[in-house]
């Protein structure tokens, strides 16, 4: 039984087509990550599921109920991106207010608010006005209000935005904790490393469409990429290796070797040893979600694009810089 289910969801703002047929399923107990460039439509999707934005065509259900009704929202927690709390509240009074809106009893609120604020590290400041909080503290308040009423489904739109590294880890722990309690978590983020650490399943959104979906393992499957560096005075046996059919690429003063099916790195090492070359650097490069993301996004968008051009220019500049260094 899916917690979130959408079928061919479409949304059009006046000029922008924000969603162009999104079909998605999130199972209970999953931590689901949605990746995508700025303006891909991630936030729009969440807002539609909460009824904050009305969708055009398609279907969207949460817990098999039509998305966006007040009843369904009762079972959902939400941390919006760029949120702004009424500044006349303190973290405590804000949670108290929202608790009433979620229909929590007074005793329940009184017991849970300090606990929760302690969990997000705000206990000592909970009676101060939110306007005196730092950005990260506001973000923590936002996390707190999203999980306060023990929702079965939690939407987090850029949850670690503005939070320091320790705080990020704490937030990851909170998410993990919620998952253990049986909640389903839906995270939007640009921070691919984080998504990689937190999520079971990931989808990549591009211009309002899902272009790839799968578990993190599936997406980051090993392809066998190695980076080797030798002493600067030595010559790298580029020609020989190419002849043996290896796929080489020079990156700065190192070389990247991409193995094809059936190839092994051993012959390369043997050749280097035979030529008496000193290997000073050698790592097996694991493909990160970021690589996947960038390659997916580029593949989905083959035309020449400002973004690509910019990257090409940057690369040229880097090379030129290296030439100069070499000459010196």
């Amino acid at each position: 039984m899916a917690v979130i289910e959408t079928r061919d969801l479409r949304k059009r703002y006046k000029q922008v087509e924000a969603l162009r047929g999104v079909t998605l399923k999130v199972e209970p107990g999953e931590v689901f990550g949605l990746l995508g460039q700025n303006g891909a439509g991630k936030t729009t999707l969440i807002k539609i599921l909460l009824g904050i934005v009305k969708f055009g065509e398609g279907e969207a259900t949460l817990f098999h109920h039509p998305a966006g009704t007040a009843d369904v929202r009762n079972r959902v927690g939400y941390l919006p991106e760029d949120h702004r709390f009424p500044e006349y509240h303190s973290a405590y009074s804000l949670l108290d207010y929202y608790g009433i809106l979620y229909g929590m009893s007074k005793d329940d609120r009184r017991k849970k608010i300090p606990e929760l604020l302690d969990q997000v590290g705000l206990a000592s400041r909970m009676n101060d006005k939110i306007r005196t909080y730092s950005k990260g503290m506001k973000q923590r308040t936002g996390i707190a209000q999203a999980i306060f009423h023990d929702p079965e489904l939690i939407f987090l739109d850029e949850p670690t935005d503005g939070v320091d590294p320790v705080g990020r880890r704490e937030i990851r722990e909170i998410i993990e904790d919620r998952r253990k309690r049986g909640a389903t978590v839906f995270v939007n983020s640009h921070l691919l490393g984080e998504i990689e650490m937190m999520c079971d399943r990931v989808a990549i959104m591009q211009k309002g469409q899902l272009i790839r979906e799968g578990t993190v393992q599936e997406l980051t499957a090993q392809r066998g990429v190695y980076v080797i560096g030798i002493l600067e005075r030595d010559r790298f046996p580029e020609f020989e290796l190419r002849q043996e059919g290896f796929n080489l690429r020079e990156i700065g003063d190192r070389w990247e070797i991409t193995l094809t099916d059936g190839q092994s790195i051993t012959p390369v090492l043997e050749l280097l040893r035979a030529q008496n070359l000193n290997v000073v650097h050698m790592i097996e490069k694991k493909q990160t979600l970021e690589d996947i993301f960038v390659s997916m996004v580029e593949a989905a968008e083959p035309g020449v694009d400002a973004r690509r051009k910019r990257r090409a220019v940057e690369r040229d500049e880097y090379e030129r810089g290296r030439d100069r260094r070499d000459r010196r």
């Binding site: 929202r73 939400y78 949120h83 702004r84 500044e87």
Partner: protein, 487 residues
Amino acid sequence: MKAIAILRDSLREAWDSKTLLVMLVLIAIFMVGVASIGYNAATPRVVFDQHYAMMSQGILRIDKGKVELPLIDPKTRLPFPHPTYEITSFRITKEGSHPSLGEQEYTILIRNSDAEKDGKDKEKDGKNTEKKEPQVEMFERMVAAWHESGSSSEYLRLEEKNDIDPRKWVLIKPVTDEMARDYLSVMLERETQVPITSFERLPALNPNERVYKITTGPSSEPRVWPVKLSIGFGAWESPGAGPLGVMLHFMQDYIISSVGGLLIILIAVIITSFFIPNMLRPGSVVMLLSKPIGRTTLLLFKYFGGLFFVLILSAFLVGGVWLITGIRAGIWAPGIFAVVPLMTLTFSILYAVSTLAAVLTRNSIVCILVTLAFAGLLWLVGKIDVIAKEFQKAEDVMAELRKEEPKYDQWTVVIGTINQVLPRWRDIDVLTGEVVEKSLMTLKQQEARQSVKQKHLPTWGGTIGVTALWIAAMLGLASWRFSAKDY
């Protein structure tokens, strides 16, 4: 429960921004001013002098005072000749425990206003010996008009239909001293509740003058005995005196309800116009909309939150003023409490406009401007309507004297209709004044004022109904927009 939480949240917002506090402090300062007003009973001589000075104005009272008209020549815009009254001797025959409870004896000289003027003219040039046409006694005509019930032509009639010059009236019956006593005693009682206990005509020096010796007894209603106002804890005292009820009515209805109330409403419009746009700011509204609460409920209770703000302010103002006048004047009239709900009702019209503007534009400044413009429009239409009605009333009276159907001006009808269709701000004000007045004055005074004003009071049902319809329409539109919008 959720609804109450939203209300409380609005109050927290108002409290946190210090606006509520500042308003309460301002009202408190205003109340110190109200508390500085003292009400000191006037002496009988002042009261009677003032009463007859009032009587000496050129005002025609028809049908026992049910209709009052200024006696002004439409051609020259000058007053027609009319009777003037002057106390020539005055004596307190018995002191009372309160100035209103004594007994007095005085003589009063009644003559024509132009006689007075002629006398002065003569003194000035000394040789104005030209024979004037014989004067008619205006007092008799006033008394006859007082008894004339309008339609019957029992006591007097007009020579020419369109000429209300009192000199040209024809008396049908002689005016007796009984009739004169009736006129004078009703007028005196109306203002002071002092009864005339004996009434005697004395011989006059001139044929067109009258002299009466009058004795008066203790007032039946010391509460309405005229008082002098002192302001600033006695720093300034009013020269004239007015009945306490009328004074308090003036203060409660005019100063508190109309001026103070209007000020509070306008300031509240400005303050509360920030509430909903604040809630609708991009990062904030998303937060609220994700909560399990309907958008209409959210908006409505945010709206009620604004009303609550004004309710608190008006309750504070009115409660305070009620307490102060109770202590200072000894009058604990509850009618002023009507100001609280009615002021809130007036505000609720404006705040509905503001709410609609907020949903449509999300901009506080636009909300304030639109709301103030709407308020200005209502005020203007109301004022024009009042003026139009005044003209129409004069025409009605004239038509009655002419024994003709009154003519209706097209514009009067148009502006009247517009005024009926718009939210009834002015009517709410009139009704508020009415409730305040009812509880402040004695029945007799009310009757008198009622007949003077010959009010066509707006109905409660119509006033509240039309207003509520407007509010419902504006809030409906706002909720509909709010519910359909993407945030």
